[in-house]
């Protein structure tokens, strides 16, 4: 197979590089960027060749909108505050729930990589930081979430939920990003910590729907039992849903607007953003030791 290659070329191609300074010469930041882009590219190649997950990911929120909308179709007018329809009320909940579910599943491909041994390829490589794995997954999920969000926003507009202004859309994107970042980190943390995909699926199963129902996605706080109000007011999803709902209902919103009322006080837009950011920081810090773990 290699007749056409001279011995000299063999030596050139196969000789070791004894320059041990390579890793010092490159900047950590550039290395991080390079590995993140490469890992992201892999995820998008997979998506391109197996697009069914994207298709399902677009159809599903659509079905939520239609089904939940129909579920409360004959609810008395003015049941929800401010003279709004249930469709208007629901859209922000579906946006966040969809982004959340996608991010919660982010650990699955990593778990399968782990089980098939592909993850070893990443773990034996001198990565600048294993956070590049988190970064790549986040970029991937965020892209999917933005596509889904766009579909939901457009579909809701047709249902009569209205369309926020450009700045409002930007704010929605920022909130989706913050919730996706934290939840993706959480899911990857599980993928590194749990023994196998069965356990990971169990955790996803246990977290996913309960967190939906224990948030304000489907019903306002005032509808809930006292204890559930407290849980819903601790649920990060609520902190993402409420500001988006406010944007939908108040075209004159500002960063100082009070967007959330909880049993422990009212929060304005900036506070809510800071709390979401704090949620991300706490998660990323707490999964750091998991990422650097060595497996059995």
């Amino acid at each position: 197979m290699t007749q056409s290659i001279s011995p000299n070329q063999f030596t050139e191609i196969l000789s070791p590089n004894l320059d041990t300074q390579i890793e010092v010469k490159n900047s950590i930041f550039r290395d991080f960027l390079q590995e993140t882009l490469a890992l992201t590219k892999r995820l998008f190649i997979q998506l391109k060749r197996r697009p069914s997950s994207l298709i399902a990911g677009v159809i599903q929120p659509f079905m939520w909108l239609i089904l939940f909308g129909a579920l409360f179709f004959n609810a008395p007018e003015n049941l929800f505050e401010n003279n709004i329809t249930y469709g208007q009320f629901l859209a922000p909940g579906i946006i966040i729930f969809t982004a959340f579910s996608g991010a919660l599943n982010a650990g699955l491909p990593i778990m399968f990589d782990r089980e098939f041994g592909f993850l070893n390829r990443l773990l034996v490589a001198p990565l600048a930081s294993r956070f590049s794995i988190v970064a790549a997954s986040t970029i991937y999920i965020i892209t999917l979430s933005f596509i889904q969000t766009a579909v939901i926003i457009i579909a809701s507009a047709f249902i009569g939920a209205g369309l926020p202004h450009l700045l409002g859309l930007g704010a929605i994107a920022l909130i989706v990003f913050l919730i996706v970042l934290g939840v993706t980190g959480l899911s990857l943390g599980f993928a590194f910590a749990l023994p196998g995909h069965i356990e990971l699926l169990a955790v996803i199963f246990v977290i996913n729907l309960p967190l939906l129902f224990a948030s304000t996605a489907l019903a306002p706080l005032s509808f809930m039992a006292g204890w559930l109000q407290i849980i819903a007011s601790l649920n990060p999803l609520t902190y993402a849903i409420e500001p988006i709902r406010y944007i939908y209902q108040n075209s004159d919103w500002s960063f100082a607007s009070v967007v959330m009322n909880t049993p422990w006080g009212n929060f304005n837009f900036v506070t809510v953003l800071c709390l979401l950011l704090a949620f991300d920081v706490v998660i990323l810090l707490s999964i750091k030791p998991l990422l650097s773990r060595r497996f059995a």
């Binding site: 197979m1 030596t11 191609i13 390579i22 490159n26 892999r42 060749r49 041994g117």
Partner: protein
């Protein structure tokens, strides 16, 4: 020559199972070093500790003078790793996988492209490079994995059982390639449970058994250390132990016989070590006849690595394999029963 890899007193347990009891050996720069042992001996566990995938309970691992335990990232840069099970993403093409690998080792783009083309060419992979790896045969996958392991020009290429599951032709290609690699100056560490593979490739080897190194040296020095020729004698196809014991006693008195081991796992056959050039077979036959003992078969050979293993453990490598696979099944069954 200096040592590029040093393992000292490596220990690692999985719960009750002591996978590594005490592993020490060193690999010299530029050689092909073989780690030989039966299934379950601890080869993969040793390699996983070396490549920073697993953390040993205790012991030292140095690669080019750098500790794999305290400075894993620097060690990762120095090693190329070809795992026991080829791990490729079936959806990616060969070239896409190599591009990913190049970025994980931070090769500049132009260098990556050049090295990928060179290695694809060298390993005869050009025609496959733009097909998805899911369509590859085992041999082609292994070659792609070799290319991936060598992209960043590691000082040491570590291969865990590279020829398991390969057809003979692919195996020959891999062996030739590893010899080329050595000629070019790259150190190769290879594990195997095939004697022939280590005998054919390795400059030096360590034999490990049940998590311990039981011999280390060059194949010829290990064989020479065993002294004379081997004779395998079966008095019956399946002799009973008493009869074998009797034959052992009688034959021990012959002047040229250095040592006799009864191999209980192979029908109580007798393994004799005899002084070289003693022309022993006819004298053995005669002794058996004089003592009313039958003879089923007899063969003489130079010591092999299997004899090295036999001398150290009292069983052949094949038997150890069978034993290990039996043990493993038992364990799996127990686990199954507990569910």
């Amino acid at each position: 020559m200096s040592d590029v890899i040093t393992l000292k007193n490596l220990q690692k347990s999985y719960g009750q199972v002591k996978a590594l009891k005490n592993i020490s050996f060193s690999v010299k720069t530029g050689e092909i070093f073989g780690l030989l042992g039966p299934n379950g001996a601890g080869k993969t566990t040793t390699i996983r500790c070396l490549t920073t995938l697993a953390q040993p309970d205790s012991g030292e691992i140095l690669v080019g003078g750098v500790s794999a335990i305290t400075q894993p990232k620097q060690v990762r840069q120095k090693l190329g790793y070809v795992a026991q099970e080829v791990a490729i993403d079936k959806v990616l093409t060969g070239r896409e996988l190599l591009n990913l690998q190049a970025s994980l080792y931070h090769l500049p783009l132009s260098l990556a492209k050049k090295r990928i083309d060179q290695l694809l060419n060298l390993l005869g992979l050009q025609e496959y490079s733009d097909r998805q790896t899911g369509t590859y045969s085992g041999g082609i996958r292994k070659r792609l994995d070799l290319a991936a392991g060598l992209l960043h020009q590691p000082q040491v290429l570590v291969l865990d059982e590279p020829s398991v599951g390969l057809d003979i032709e692919s195996r020959t290609i891999v062996w030739d390639f590893l010899r080329q690699l050595k000629l070019a100056g790259t150190t190769v560490l290879i594990t195997s449970h095939y004697l022939e593979e280590i005998d054919a490739l390795a400059d030096r080897l360590a034999i490990i058994d049940q998590g311990e190194v039981i011999a280390e040296g060059s194949p010829s020095s290990l064989k020479d250390r065993l002294g004379g020729d081997r004779i395998t004698l079966k008095i019956r196809e399946f002799a009973n132990f008493e009869e074998a014991q009797k034959a052992k006693e009688k034959l021990s008195s012959l002047s040229f016989v250095e040592k006799i081991i009864i191999n209980q796992t192979q029908g109580n056959s007798l393994n004799l070590i005899v002084t070289p050039k003693s022309n022993p077979i006819s004298k053995i036959e005669q002794t058996l006849i004089e003592n009313d003992l039958p003879m089923f078969s007899i063969s003489q050979s130079r010591p092999s690595l299997d004899d090295v293993y036999l001398a150290a453990t009292g069983k052949t490598l094949i038997d150890a394999e069978i034993e290990a696979s039996n043990n493993r099944d038992l364990k799996a069954e127990k686990k199954q029963a507990m569910k």
